[in-house]
Amino acid sequence: MDLNYTPEQQAFRAEVRAWLEAHVPSEPLEHFDATREGFEAHREWEKTLKSGDWGMVTWPREYGGRGLDLIEWLIFEEEYYRAGAPGRVNQNGIFLLGPTLIEFGTHEQKQRFLPRMASGEEIWAQAWSEPMAGSDLAGVRATATREGDDYILNGHKIWSSRAVFADWAFGLFREPGSERHKGMSLIFFPLDAPGVTVNAIKKINGHVGFAEIFLENVRVPAFNRLGEEGQGWHICMATAGFERGLMLRSPARYQVAAKKLAELWAANKETADPGLEADVVRAHMNADAYALNIYQTASRLMAGAKIGPEASTNKIFWSEMDIHLTQTALNILGPQAELTHEAPDACAVDWIDDYIFALAGPIYAGSNEIQRNIIAERMLGLPR
């Protein structure tokens, strides 16, 4: 155990910091879920990142990445959040589909999809959920019917993040007549293909980050299937492992938030309830514990371990930490907490936005109830 960074890792941090200082936009971009302009501004930022080779830092170089190990990835993320760089509009591609494609894709598929994902040329949405299948992904009903070298896709997807403005989506489809975990395939489709209709769904905060997607006889080549036919469930579970375990939420995000919370507390200490300091301390502890946990996991994975069901503990931890942290901020702000952008006295808008966003944490990427079942059954060995 050595909790010091190597000289190489320190030099790498300096390199990332210098590049970000020179390139991060001075003004925050409009949110990518708010408008088409906000989305496109983020696409431009992805291209800028790519120009410095910072798009997909953990991917192999031949597919548009930088070949970094997981500790370097953590350092990159720390500097990224420290610099206040824009949110990643292509996070579905970077953190979910990318690692899965690298593991299960053919060389041709990797060449076709990964570099364009890395450059921001193609931005991805996920199309997993369906009206009758939320966390019960095996209940997916959308179908892929084989016709020669093509699939014909039919069905109705919902809660698709980014799909309103994105270029491509990946989703689970089943062979007609198949049941539950069997007969499912993970298939990519362009969101502008004939037969695809995308309708925006407003989120709780008014943004159009969700969509429902109707697929009516959408023809895609069999080349767009990731992995073997009928192996979609297995591949999706691997993707979910990345999502829950490591890549979806790097610790830096919460460390920046905990720092801002400490500053908010320091600025309001005279008027706020003194008992709230314990919550500020707790927020720091949580962010720190999460960082330590991820560093430990990264070290283990680099030593050859595989991500297991313990990944589900992460998702519960960060989602609950986020709510506690943002709620503490609202408690410190008191009566100003509820004010919107339009209010002359508005000063808390970011915190209320963050709080509202945090409320989704226990729902998406597999609800926390499902995560607790996974922990109980696969970590602790309780009966199904």
Partner: protein, 343 residues
């Protein structure tokens, strides 16, 4: 940066685990409780023989000079069996202090002797009656006395294996050891009790899991019900996020700076919270059985309760973390920061 344990460390922990699993079973506790004993001489002799009491002692005092990380792993295994003997306070805190002050002291030459410590952080001294010596505090100086050289007033604890005493003493009957590092003793005690609490917590969960697999209601094992699963999963989440904090605190304790102290405090807080949460979940899962003397969970609950309030209360430890937050830089690049880097 490498946040993994070495093969050697894992093997050492495994040795401790099998020693405790064989010698410290619920039957043993029950027999000791009935006899009113807090130390089992045979088990203590086995612990001494395995070298577990020598881990933190320097070679000059006959020790094997390993690190806090190594001892924390042993403490975690001790917690898993709710070890009655004062391994942590004696071998993890008091003996290293004595070795730093008087490496040639006869008490260190007798590895079976336990040493108690009257730290200013604690009003009561654990296991003072059976100790070969008691380290006493006076204005930053350490003194040593045997139990018959002081006046002990028993202050019975709810935990039958923690024998607490108020100690009245007189310098005429004690030996001066000189200026001691009471802060290091405090940090080590907090850290090793945190590690011990990880063991307590995991055992509570494991006991409840075993029960929930067996016990049937409405025709199914109760462990198949989501409400039961979720209690135990939540406790396991608390354990998983206390573990790396304890590991980091053990690795960094030697830095002796604001960040290291905050991390020790963080470890103590979250590991004991996990132990409390797990014990309470286990009681709930056991139902009325969990509230009975017969089921073992109460031992884990009581030890967690005792250790939460000793070696610094939660508010003491929170204050040390607040000091770190408000006097040192925060942020994503500060996870492993040291005070000297920010001087």
């Amino acid at each position: 940066m490498d946040f993994t344990l070495s093969e050697e460390q894992l093997m050492f922990a495994e040795t401790a685990r099998s020693l405790f699993a064989d010698s410290c079973t619920p039957d043993h506790w029950r027999r000791m409780m009935e006899a009113g004993e807090a130390i089992d001489p045979a088990r203590w002799a086995a612990i001494v023989e395995t070298g577990l009491t020598l881990v933190l002692l320097p070679e000059s005092a006959g020790g094997i000079d390993l690190t806090e990380t190594d001892f924390a792993l042993i403490a975690q295994e001790a917690g898993y069996v709710a070890l009655p003997e004062p391994l942590i306070e004696s071998a993890g805190v008091a003996a290293p202090m004595l070795a730093a002050l008087a490496p040639d002291h006869a008490l260190l030459a007798d590895p079976t002797a336990t040493i108690a410590i009257a730290h200013p952080a604690n009003p009561y001294v654990a296991n003072a009656d059976s100790a070969g010596g008691i380290i006493l505090h006076d204005g930053g100086d350490a003194w040593l006395a045997t139990p018959d050289q002081v006046t002990l007033t028993a202050q019975p604890s709810i935990d039958p294996f923690r024998r607490l005493f108020s100690v009245a003493w007189d310098k005429d009957k004690a030996t001066a050891l000189g200026r001691a590092d009471w802060n290091l003793a405090f940090d080590r005690a907090a850290l090793f009790n945190a590690a011990f609490a990880l063991g307590l917590a995991q055992r509570s969960v494991d006991l409840a899991v075993d029960y929930a697999k067996e016990r049937q209601q409405f025709g199914k094992p109760i462990g198949s019900y989501q409400a039961v699963k979720h209690h135990l999963a939540s406790a396991q989440v608390a354990i998983e996020f206390a573990k790396p904090v304890v590991a980091a605190a053990a690795a960094e304790i030697g830095a002796r700076d604001t960040q290291a102290r905050a991390r020790v405090s963080h470890a103590k807080l979250v590991a004991l919270e996990a132990a409390d949460k797990a014990a309470r979940a286990a009681i709930q899962v056991h139902g009325a059985m969990g509230y009975s003397w017969e089921v073992d969970v109460h031992l884990f609950l009581k030890r967690a309760l005792a250790l939460t309030q000793t070696w610094g209360t939660p508010s003491t430890h929170r204050a040390r973390i607040a000091t770190r937050i408000f006097t040192q830089p925060m942020g994503p690049d500060q996870t492993f920061a040291r005070e000297t880097e920010n001087a």
